[in-house]
Symmetry: C2
Amino acid sequence: MAFLALNLLDSGVQLSMLCAVIGLIFAFVLIAIVARSPAGNERMRQISGAVQEGAKAYLNRQVVTISVIAVIIFILLFIFKDPPTAIGFVVGAFCSLSAGFIGMRIAVIANVRTTQAATSSSTRALRIAFNGGAVTGLLVVGLALLSVSIFYTAANKMVGHDMAIRSLVGLALGASLISVFARLGGGIYTKAADVGADLVGKIEQGFEEDDPRNPATIADNVGDNVGDCAGMAADVFETYAVSLIGAILVGALTLVGNSAAIIYPFVLGGISVLGAICGVLFVNVANGKPAAVLMGGVLTSAIISAILFWPATHYLFPTGLTIGGATRTPTQLYFASLIGLVMTAVVVAITNYYTSMRYAPVQKIARASETGHATNIIAGLAVGQHATALPVGFIGIAILLSFHFAGLYGIAIAVMSMLSMAGIIISLDSFGPITDNAGGIAVMSNLPKEVRAVTDQLDAVGNTMKAVTKGYAIASAGLAALVLFGSYVEELKAHVTRNGEPFVFQFSLTEPKVIIGLFLGGLLPFIFTAFSMDAVGKAAGAVVREVRRQLKAKPGILTGQDIPEYGTCVDIVTKAALREMIVPALLPLVFVVAVAIIKPLGPVVLGGLLVGTIVTGLFVAIAMTSGGGAWDNAKKFIEEGNLGGKGSFAHAASVTGDTVGDPYKDTAGPAINPMIKVVNIVAILIIPIFF
Amino acid sequence: MAFLALNLLDSGVQLSMLCAVIGLIFAFVLIAIVARSPAGNERMRQISGAVQEGAKAYLNRQVVTISVIAVIIFILLFIFKDPPTAIGFVVGAFCSLSAGFIGMRIAVIANVRTTQAATSSSTRALRIAFNGGAVTGLLVVGLALLSVSIFYTAANKMVGHDMAIRSLVGLALGASLISVFARLGGGIYTKAADVGADLVGKIEQGFEEDDPRNPATIADNVGDNVGDCAGMAADVFETYAVSLIGAILVGALTLVGNSAAIIYPFVLGGISVLGAICGVLFVNVANGKPAAVLMGGVLTSAIISAILFWPATHYLFPTGLTIGGATRTPTQLYFASLIGLVMTAVVVAITNYYTSMRYAPVQKIARASETGHATNIIAGLAVGQHATALPVGFIGIAILLSFHFAGLYGIAIAVMSMLSMAGIIISLDSFGPITDNAGGIAVMSNLPKEVRAVTDQLDAVGNTMKAVTKGYAIASAGLAALVLFGSYVEELKAHVTRNGEPFVFQFSLTEPKVIIGLFLGGLLPFIFTAFSMDAVGKAAGAVVREVRRQLKAKPGILTGQDIPEYGTCVDIVTKAALREMIVPALLPLVFVVAVAIIKPLGPVVLGGLLVGTIVTGLFVAIAMTSGGGAWDNAKKFIEEGNLGGKGSFAHAASVTGDTVGDPYKDTAGPAINPMIKVVNIVAILIIPIFF
């Protein structure tokens, strides 16, 4: 029986590896297709090369900075925890960094080719940009599935099953922590450059976006790649790997000895790779409006996954699963997995409503711009806050239903199935910065205005897609973090004894320590984002001063006679981003360890802290990412010629809103996502050390 | 023994009534002093009269609107609860409305006299404005103490002790609900007028503040009175009454039969009236910088209270108090009461740091204005979020310590002693709008610039004082709400049975229903403030359109040849405020009842909701009120001649920040305070109806 169980475990994990490999092969085919298409003229390749060089230089320096911190944590884990966990940490960190590099590399291959394709056909440009995104999506998901399953299989053989499960938490920490750094570093970079370029360029000088006379314009385009591509890829790698590990943990901790419960998340992940491939194929053959085609791809992917989940669930759990004494039927487990797919659709639809220029919220912000900067800001802040209501309501329903179907494990399954959609969802997200960069290359290469019109149209779709995938990421992060909190409680149960007896902590709201924990945890997202926004503000201020200096020193830049020194701006932003990311990125780590160490606090306060961070983190993140997306598209709505169009008073106000929204949606907001999980993972890891 | 206990109860409550009456007499003496000082020339009295008329007209219409809702709730309480609770509701509602009227009446008496005093002496102006505020402070506190003690004594005689305690919850609901309406209605009024006047007046036309050519200027001054004076007075009445009732409830529910525990909060309140009187006297004899004199008044008040609390505690609890089996010494109880006083000082100091122009945060916002509107907004948002850290940290310490000294009752005592400072704190708060109005009257009456300089200097101090008292109000509201949550749990224990047995609900974080409750509760402050900001935005938009229309129809207004139609602006704002306050004010009520009724939710989700609202409410409220205050003073910092001074690019950006901060700090942020309590009180009230 034990032999059979182990066999099933092996074959299930192998199946998921096989699917991951299929996904990787498909990704390489896509790379070949993208790389085969023409890369444009010399000037275009030159600009693309400069952007690529800046991005590579930044990521390399980021690796050095992060490595110092990673080595320290590796040593601490090695000494205070155990070698397998420390090695897991290195694997997670390495893969998360690699995911970032992959995202950036693919984007710089695809962007110039998208520009070139836009000279001939909108559909062709759409497909190249999307396929570039899809490569990142499939590579990141494949990497996540492979790294977790290989590490797990190897650790299983070398240190036994229990230790293997526990050392996965190390891998999760590596992935999350690096991802916080990548999100923050990249986010600060991209928005400092963007805000800095806009403040002087657009508002003071009246430049167009990506005007080659703007000294910060190359830095701005580098930013898209290191923030929106590299940062996002590291982030989604983390979300995927951590959700998978969270589900495995819950399976191992609450359903001891049941192998099927452990391999089920792997199988769901593997199957969805096939679903994602079908979705990508759909986009490559369908015709129609860009937004509709992309949504068709997501739908295809979800339907294929939903169909394949059914036989897989019945094969793994022919007689169901016993949880806490009660048997759950295979159909109940299947329903739990469907909840994740449905939640993806729901969150996508809601975020689309709040951030697409076709609906009331964005148009409300646009109209508020007519009465000035301040009313634009007030309207945008309100829209962001309104946008939290429906997602949180549906998350509540998802928790209630999936818990009803299969307890905490049901929630874990719902999260994993939601995350299994990551392959196709990242394809959409990467699509945005690729088209954004493609537009930049078109302007800087003096290509005809029609080319820019094509990329602008795709860029507006990309904006909404980016907001949509952020909503998806944060909703899944909230659920994944709840699963991790469940694991924290189980780990406490397993480890802590008082007077030689196992001791069960209570986390009741009537206990003041829980309330204090909720307050401290609730505080984290607020100060974390405050530090992040400060960082962007400071770095952007440095860019503004540098651009003003250059325009003053060389007045010929304005007339096109002098060429700006793009390099100094790139350099300033690079240094500022690396310097400013440290404090906010280490904040959650320090906070958790401090609460664990300081005497009257301890495990109960820490439990409250974990939940408090999830609760306020969810609201702050959704409000910031949706509000930011809505501000951006309100500006685009006016630029399309509504309410006075470009150059009007309303347009100036909408630019202010867009600029405020930049650090909201691309730095602070999305970084909350990995931060919530770092907090929970660190808490799990330090239980045996401090309690 | 029972007779002795009842006797003690009576005499303790009588003592607090006596103190309240002393406070009222002192207030009437102050009114006489203020009213005796000269009211200025005819033009000044005319303007003051117009403002007073607008304010009265608004408050009267607000009473009509609120009364309709109050009558419906009275009938529902009468039918579904019991007559005493319904009557308590009416008493609370009536007193809360009266507090608002008192605040407004005193302010309009004091403002014109402050202007007149400013023509001769800054110290005299300070004292008149402060004494006007002190009248409101003492009347509101006296009213709160008297209404609760008289209602309690009468109910005790007529329906018995248990019913009297429970019907006090009705009084709390009346006070809180009316206060939400008053805060929202007044807040929407004042900020719609202010924002509307600024957007067209300052930004489009380059008017000074309170320029008589601005058609919205009278509405703006009316707004100060109905929002900052009437709304604030109703709010503090509510906070005081509800904290007192919360402490009585906890005493009665957890320490059954111990009369001293019930009268202790009354006695603390009574003693502090004497402390407040000493503080007021101090301000009237001291000389020095305005901010230092006012802070000296607060300190005097706190020291007197701290000294008198000692003998009172030892007299009431000669052998200590037995809580949950363990005896707490009188010294421990005394320490719990000191925590409230210390917390007041701590919160005042922290908020002062974040909102005074003398410190780094405000100056950071001012410097960020140099790079534009957007960086000003980003910096202000970040400052508001940073400002949450220390208050929440200290609230955590206060909870830990006061619980350590005397359990949940210790927290209740700390809150009551914190609130006992309300008399002197409101004096500071009311000071702000009175000087603001005084400045308005000076400008509109064409008094010499020096007069405006005096009132401006006092106004800047008033701005910080307003932010400080808001920090105080929200911190105490958070603690008071926790006490109410404790009462909710106790009430559930007392009422709910399953199969004839008493049933104890668990509120563990490992229970999904608690998590869902936390999410739903956490959502409330976000959408509540979103609706409030929308309301301000909509109403301000209407003002902008009206002002633009008038300036276009009568170009003579700009040159001073035509007189604007002030009345139409007053009328538009009045209607808009009354219309827009309904939805957000009823939202918390509807939310709580919906969660109670909808089947799979119920008491456990509701418990989570109460705590969730407190957690995010605290953060959102502090971030909004501190951020708003900081934005306002960043503008004042630039207007003092720093960073380019008035008319510079930085100044324009700082005006945008101030305008965004307006609904933050004067509408949405402070309204969270009563809202949190409405949610908790309604939950307590509906237990016997639905569970």
